[in-house]
């Protein structure tokens, strides 16, 4: 018995070159105790970042790829302070900053929290800062379905967003740039109901500051008459809610899955004739095909419908109207061969089909066809005069979360190559286009 124990001890006494420095750091840390658990979060990162980096270089082949993913996970995600990389909104350019993430569960209340504080800036003057807090009810639930709420406060400085005029027939050549500063504070709650239904509700304060246009082609084309809210600051209290539905309630690997999201919101302007109401509906369906041994990929279809109504004497500020074309301010891709923010109007209808297939590890191929249109009048919404795009690309995903997308799209007004990247899964919700 003694011999075996000694063998165990001796073999354990020599650590590998990556683990030995980590062990020494831990030993020093232990001597200078006690530490708060918060301080320990940072210590763990201080130890694990160099350790996981070291492990990359002592491996080869696929093992090295996996070790690199390990390093990325430690470096960019989890509790503690991390660098944050990726764009802020389309056109912001590559942005970098810092984020602090923390998950916590209450010992006295049936609540769980995931919080994030983040600040990012890009080389061309875009920046954002704020925080958000996810809250889950964690009481006794036989089927593990819980109330989920989100509180967030965010500020965005977006100095040069493209604007091509309103409507489905705006011209690419009429591109102007406008700046927008926006502060959002509010919260929403999602309550699960039986049979896959949810009821949602939200209240948000919204402050917008917009300094007018900087014309690239002809500033005289954009006037207060055809661009509501031009140069006007607005303050809103927005409230609303909706019903969502998912099928099947318990996720399945193959076959069809569907989700429907609906929302109705009232935007009450604190001053000026800018109050309005908006109805949003999003239908998504996915069909995953597979033979007995091989996954053949997933086909998905998405339909989005937005309809807005302004009471007599009111108008919807152009910067709160949704866009299609390239990627919108929420980082949603529609009509991907067009320029970002290309078509803007209060109402829209889009239909998208995508095919996605995992080819190796975290890499998946993507093919898509988008059609859609915007309309200044509600009566113009329909499946006529739709614009369309085709495209292909690839996605890098960890778990099922895409962290990077790259695609090439064509049709419409030419081609458009785009990449998106985000290292922080706890990143902010969205700026104005969230509505």
């Amino acid at each position: 018995m003694a011999f075996a124990a000694l063998t165990f001890a001796i073999s354990a006494s020599a650590a590998d070159p990556c683990d030995l420095p980590a062990a020494n750091k831990n030993r020093v840390w232990t001597i200078h105790r006690p530490h708060s658990w918060l301080a320990n979060v940072e210590h763990k990162q201080y130890v694990e970042v160099p350790r996981t980096w070291c492990h990359i270089w002592e491996t080869h082949g696929i093992d090295r790829v996996q070790k690199a993913i390990d390093f990325g996970r430690v470096f960019f995600t989890g509790d503690g302070l991390h660098p944050a990389l990726g764009g802020i909104v389309p056109g912001s350019g590559f942005a970098g900053g810092l984020t602090y993430n923390l998950e916590r569960a209450s010992a006295t209340l049936p609540l769980r929290y995931a919080g994030s504080v983040e600040a990012r800036g890009s080389y061309n003057g875009f920046w954002t800062a704020g925080s958000k807090l996810d809250i889950w009810g964690s009481g006794n639930s036989r089927n593990d379905r819980h109330i989920h709420a989100l509180l967030d406060v965010e500020h965005y400085e977006l100095p040069q967003l493209p604007y091509f005029g309103l409507g489905n027939n705006s011209l690419l050549a009429n591109k102007n740039l406008f700046s927008l500063a926006q502060t959002i504070g509010g919260g929403n709650i999602e309550v699960p109901l039986p049979a896959g239904f949810f009821i949602t509700a939200d209240v948000t304060g919204l402050w917008n500051s917009q300094l007018g246009m900087r014309g690239v082609f002809s500033p005289t084309i954009v006037t207060p008459a055809n661009t509501p809210g031009l140069g006007v600051d607005t303050t809103y209290l927005a409230a609303g809610g909706g019903f969502d539905w998912i099928y099947p309630v318990a996720p399945r690997l193959k076959g069809i899955s569907t989700s429907v999201t609906t929302g109705y919101h009232v935007f009450h302007a604190a001053s000026g004739p800018y109050s309005f109401r908006r109805l949003d509906a999003l239908w998504q369906s996915r069909y995953t095909m597979a033979t007995k041994k091989i996954e053949l990929g997933t086909i998905s279809a998405t339909v989005r419908f937005v309809e807005a109504y302004a009471p007599a004497g009111n108008a919807i500020p152009f910067y709160l109207q949704p866009t299609i074309g390239g990627t919108d301010i929420n980082n949603v891709d529609v009509l991907r061969s067009y320029a970002d923010y290309r078509f803007r109007a209060p109402n829209l209808l889009t239909l998208q089909t995508e095919y996605e297939r995992t080819i190796w590890g975290p890499f998946a191929l993507l093919g898509f066809h988008d059609v859609g249109r915007v309309a200044e009048q509600r009566s113009d919404i329909g499946i006529v005069h739709m614009r369309h795009s085709f495209g292909a690309g690839f996605i890098v995903q960890v778990g099922s979360l895409p962290i990077m997308k790259f695609y090439y799209a064509w049709a419409g007004e030419g081609t458009h190559t785009t990449y998106t990247l985000n290292t922080n899964n706890f990143t902010f919700s969205e700026p104005a286009g969230v509505f």
Binding site: F8, A23, A105
Partner: protein, 466 residues
């Protein structure tokens, strides 16, 4: 073969996360003295100030283990042997380093010794009372999640101790072996987000090996379960679903309810129920105290780790485990030694052939199978009493604080004394191993000696009785 195994067509494994036997099941000893648990205040570790932290109740559902207790190989070594990784241990594990290990993680030392009362986990406790508790199920590796789960999938971790799953690729898992034998095995993730990190590398693009929670429910209801199913609980808070894996600091109630959901899914079809063995087991102890020293591995598989150097000489810390089947006697307590390699070994024995001939790796070849628990000739359909309030036994009547020391303890005392004679002959002369009669005597003897043998390490505590 046991009678019930003739009817066994399906084995379902639900592997939860990071709780020790004492922590979840310990207080069941007050209902059934065969269960090797605790009665409260009967074991202790010393914290860094020398204060004893005793096993007590008072574990709460969440918010108590805010700092994740250490469970990498270096943490577990310290927990088991009471000396830092890299320091030669004397003798067998004494389970003395949990409190100080948790302090290293920034945690509150007494919290690592806290345990749940059965009424706090009513579904798990009801199943434990109604079916079988495995008293001696040890995690396969004294380390973290993935190498332990690798033992469930492959019967070995291929000498790995780390959390990079790439080493699974191309290795003969129980799922592939079942297919080659004309049977089927499947891993049911709760959702796509919930797949154990990177395990899709395991069987990439072979969708027939995978399903999600909805598929499991459907397969149970329609009696289409494969021969072997491995269910993964939700690991993350996501949308309306919160993590139900019981990993600290996830809400233990969510896991308790999920265990019942799995059980009820199987019971949704009588044919499924009458032909299924459900095994609920935790992957490792997660750094939480357990009082039973893991034994040495009798049949090592020949793999060793080089980074860090490690020879897999001992099993990991004991974990809770339930065996549930209509062919299991009510309230049975198994004394057989199981480890995670017992899972593929059981599937191999039932659906392929004798593991001694059919299993590819030594640990699985020699692992005990769960089939011996299926002793009833016919199925029983009585339901667990989910709201039971059983009569507790008198703690003093079931306490073994004055039990005679086992040979394991006496061996340990003699080994420690031999080392002490070299380090401090004067003190050694004052300590007589022959005077050790009870477990408590052994604990005090070892603690006193270790304080001299390893003065440079943190103050040794004792995992046996103070």
């Amino acid at each position: 073969m046991p009678a019930g195994s003739d009817n066994l067509k399906h084995i379902v494994v639900l592997m939860m996360e990071n709780r020790s036997f004492d922590h979840l099941f310990g207080y069941l000893k007050l209902e059934n003295s065969e269960i090797d648990g605790i009665v409260g205040n009967d074991y202790a570790n010393l914290d860094s100030t020398g204060e004893p932290c005793r096993t007590t109740d008072g574990a709460i559902y969440q918010g108590q283990l805010v700092a994740d207790p250490g469970h990498d190989v270096d943490d577990v070594y310290f927990q088991m042997f009471g000396v830092p990784f890299g320091t030669p241990a004397i003798g067998d594990p004494n389970m003395s380093g949990f409190a100080q290990s948790y302090e290293q993680q920034g945690g509150n030392a007494p919290d690592i010794m806290r345990c749940y009362r059965p009424e706090q986990v009513p579904n798990t406790a009801a199943l434990a009372r109604h079916y079988a508790v495995c008293n001696k199920w040890f995690s396969s590796v004294a380390g973290p999640t993935l190498p332990n789960r690798a033992f469930a999938h492959f019967g070995t971790s291929f000498g790995r101790l780390d959390m990079s799953p790439v080493y699974f690729s191309g290795k003969p898992s129980i799922y592939q072996r079942l297919r080659e034998a004309g049977a089927q095995g499947k891993i049911y993730y709760y959702s796509k987000q919930s797949g154990t990190m990177g395990l899709t590398f395991l069987l990439n693009n072979q969708s027939d090996y995978f399903g999600l929670w909805g598929d499991f429910e459907s397969d149970c209801k329609s009696d289409r379960l494969p021969q072997y199913s491995y269910v993964e609980p939700p690991y993350y808070d996501n949308g309306p679903v919160i993590a139900a894996d019981q990993h600290p600091d996830h809400d233990v109630r969510a896991g308790d309810n999920f265990i019942r959901q799995v059980y009820e899914a199987i019971r949704s079809n009588d044919n499924t129920w009458h032909s299924t063995l459900l095994l609920v087991v935790w992957d490792e102890h997660g750094g939480i105290f357990d009082h039973v020293p893991p034994p040495k591995v009798d049949h090592p598989d020949g793999f060793t780790s080089t980074a860090p150097l490690y020879d897999f000489a001992y099993y990991g810390v004991r974990v809770p485990a339930l065996a549930i089947s209509p062919y299991i006697e009510k309230g049975f307590v198994s004394q057989t030694l199981f480890e995670h390699a017992s899972l593929p070994a059981t599937a191999t024995m039932q659906f392929i052939g004798d593991p001694k001939a059919e299993a590819p790796y030594e640990r699985e070849r020699n692992a005990n199978t769960l089939l011996e628990l299926l002793t009833l000739d016919g199925p029983r359909d009585d339901l667990p009493d989910w709201s039971a309030h059983p009569v507790m036994l008198d703690p003093t009547a079931v306490s073994s604080s004055a039990h005679d020391a086992a040979q394991l303890h006496l061996d340990h005392v003699n080994e420690v004394h031999a080392v002490l004679q070299q380090r401090d002959p004067v003190l050694a002369a004052t300590m007589d191993p022959g005077s050790v009669k009870t477990e408590g005597d052994a604990a005090q003897f070892v603690a006193k000696a270790m304080a001299v043998i390893h003065p440079e390490s943190t103050e040794p505590g004792t995992g046996v009785r103070p």
